[in-house]
Point group: C2
Chain length 376, copies 2
């Protein structure tokens, strides 16, 4: 079984190492440095330097492989996924591109391809859990709180970005949509800041981000759905100040004869400050609540950096969900053709259980609790 | 009587118009736009375009003049003043340069020149008042609160800079010195934020800035001296956030193949936001308190933009103090040779009264109150 992984970033490398235990894995990346980091940890994976923005070359590049994982940067994701589908390869995607993946559904069906997209933590596991319970109960409320944070808090941001700061900054400036009483409500990003206590990490602050993605369209019958991002308290106020002061504006200003947009400058300035060290302790925290009239099902995730393998929690929680889904395809447990966000996979009990078990084997544990609604 | 005014910025223009009522005035500036603005308001002033950074040319340039006002940007101020002194011209300076003006004292004496420096509001009137009362009482406390603010408050800064934003940003980052129990205390700029109510403008916020300048050296016998700057509440917190986040750092970062320091970028970004419109209402507020064991003398200034002549309060309060001092020289009321900050002028009753009267004639009114110390 030959597997191609497109992208050898932090998460891409963790996935290559995970899959190499059972299969022949080839990792592709344009960065020699990223491929070297992978080779240092695992010599079984084949590392190939390649310009993955050359989408016309995908059919030739991917010909030898049975399955593909797409873990390229978001801005390349849509084109990469389209090229993989045209190459007629089943694929799991975690590039989290901004375009609507369902626009590639017809192309995937035409090419007899299965493509599971957005298959990380949130989006990813949040969708899977909602898809599962949507089959079992008449959901009226879906709530997702999620954050990836450094263990050590350093002023003023108390934050590290496991990916490019510009992606985070764009999340902070893009208006956020949620569903309330069957209506899509659009609010500024960073709105509705709220302090919430967590058992493992103390008090965090939640705020609106535009994270619902596909479930805005696939779960239109659910009257209330909301995703909020978590940060250490204070982070949001500082970001709001920066935004109000114009430091995240996209409108370029002239400086030393060049046009530079404040968000570009901020991204460059924050790159060092926000860079997550390769052995820096961080954690992922997520709480998913799915409610009907009678009860609330709650899934809590608290996952730490793994010091033994020097694998970040972000890589573990995102990457292993993606590799779990790939194993689902390899083992023929999900065979529909087209493009599927995880809620359309999680609706099948065998798929949901398979992924949950796969994660538990890797010590990524979702703790489930159930509470009866007080009035029933 | 021929007077040269070096610099036709906002304050320079107001001074030219004030002095042209009695004397022949020539304004010099490199900016044709600034000179045109002056010409539109007053056709009696002679406007000459000149590169005032060509300091070797000052002797020739200034030969026809009896007195000089130096109102060039701060970074040029020291060199300009030195060149004026070498040209043997009596001068009043409001360039507020960062270097120590007293280093030019010997040169001024050598050239038989009188140079009054720092002759605006604060520094300026604050020094003059302290110099006056220092002769009359055994001062133990000197407190100065001062701010120039727009009447209309616009989020997030609620501030407009009548001069280059970079000068304000540097004031926000330079450590602030004050005197407490005869010791010079150095604190970070923006420290000791404190809300204070004012009759005319409501609640403002004060914070430490490094504004004492010459009186740190000329008034060493006074045990407590402090100057704080005033802004609308909220401004300081936002500036602190920007500083902590690195947006006012001087260390350059690489962007698009160029090295640009964050403070340069911030200055360019804020230039438009902070630009004071030519007919935009603003005000100057200052409170000076000079105390001995028995009483406190308080001077309150609240001065508004003058709509009739479209003259900013900043120009009125700063510029007319400077022109008052120049008239002092013209009328032979201050004839000592050397470099003098205003506290060394204000110590003479006739000089103090002359300047106070000159300002009152122009409706810049310092309201004096005296309170007896509660324990006496």
């Amino acid at each position: 079984m030959q597997i191609a992984i497109l992208g050898a970033g932090m998460v891409g490398r963790a996935m290559a190492i995970d899959l190499a235990k059972k299969y022949d894995v080839t990792s592709f990346d344009v960065s020699e440095h990223s491929l070297q980091l992978l080779m240092q940890k695992n010599t079984q994976v084949k590392a190939v330097q390649a310009d993955l923005s050359d989408y016309n070359n995908y059919t030739a590049l991917l010909a030898p492989f049975h399955f593909v994982i797409c873990a390229v940067p978001g801005f390349m994701g849509y084109n990469a996924l389209q090229a993989i589908i045209k190459a007629k390869k089943d694929v799991v995607d975690i590039s989290f591109f901004p375009e609507n993946a369902l626009e590639l559904d017809a192309l995937a069906k035409e090419n007899n391809v299965t493509a599971i997209v957005d298959c990380g933590v949130a989006p990813g596991m949040s969708n899977l859990i909602l898809g599962y319970y949507n089959e079992k109960m008449s959901v009226i409320d879906f709530d997702c709180l999620v954050g990836g944070l450094p263990k050590k808090r350093v002023k003023p941001f108390e934050y590290k970005a496991p990916f490019s700061p510009i992606d985070v900054l764009e999340e902070y400036t893009r208006p956020a949509r949620y569903v309330e009483n069957n209506c899509i409500v659009t609010k500024p990003a960073l709105s509705d800041a709220e302090l919430i206590d967590f058992e493992n990490v103390g008090t965090l602050e939640s705020f609106n981000t535009d994270g619902l993605r596909s479930i805005l369209y696939t779960m239109v019958h659910i009257p209330n759905m909301k995703e909020k991002t978590l940060r250490y308290p204070g982070h949001i106020d500082l970001m709001k100040g920066l935004i109000k002061a114009g430091f995240l504006s996209e409108e370029p200003i002239d400086i030393k004869g060049q046009k530079i947009s404040p968000i570009e400058f901020a991204s460059a300035l924050l790159f060092k400050q926000w860079k997550l060290g390769t052995a820096e302790e961080e954690f992922t925290i997520m709480q998913i609540k799915v409610s009907d009239k009678h009860k609330t099902i709650c899934y809590d995730l608290f996952d730490m950096y793994d010091a033994a393998t020097e694998t970040s929690s972000m890589s573990r929680t995102t990457g292993y969900t993606c590799t779990a889904a790939l194993n689902l395809l390899i083992e023929n447990l999900f065979t529909e053709k087209g493009v599927f966000p995880p809620e359309l996979v999680g609706k099948h009990e065998r798929c949901f259980n398979f992924i949950m078990d796969y994660l538990k084997e890797r010590n990524v544990v979702y703790k489930k609790t159930e509470t009866i609604a007080p009035n029933h």
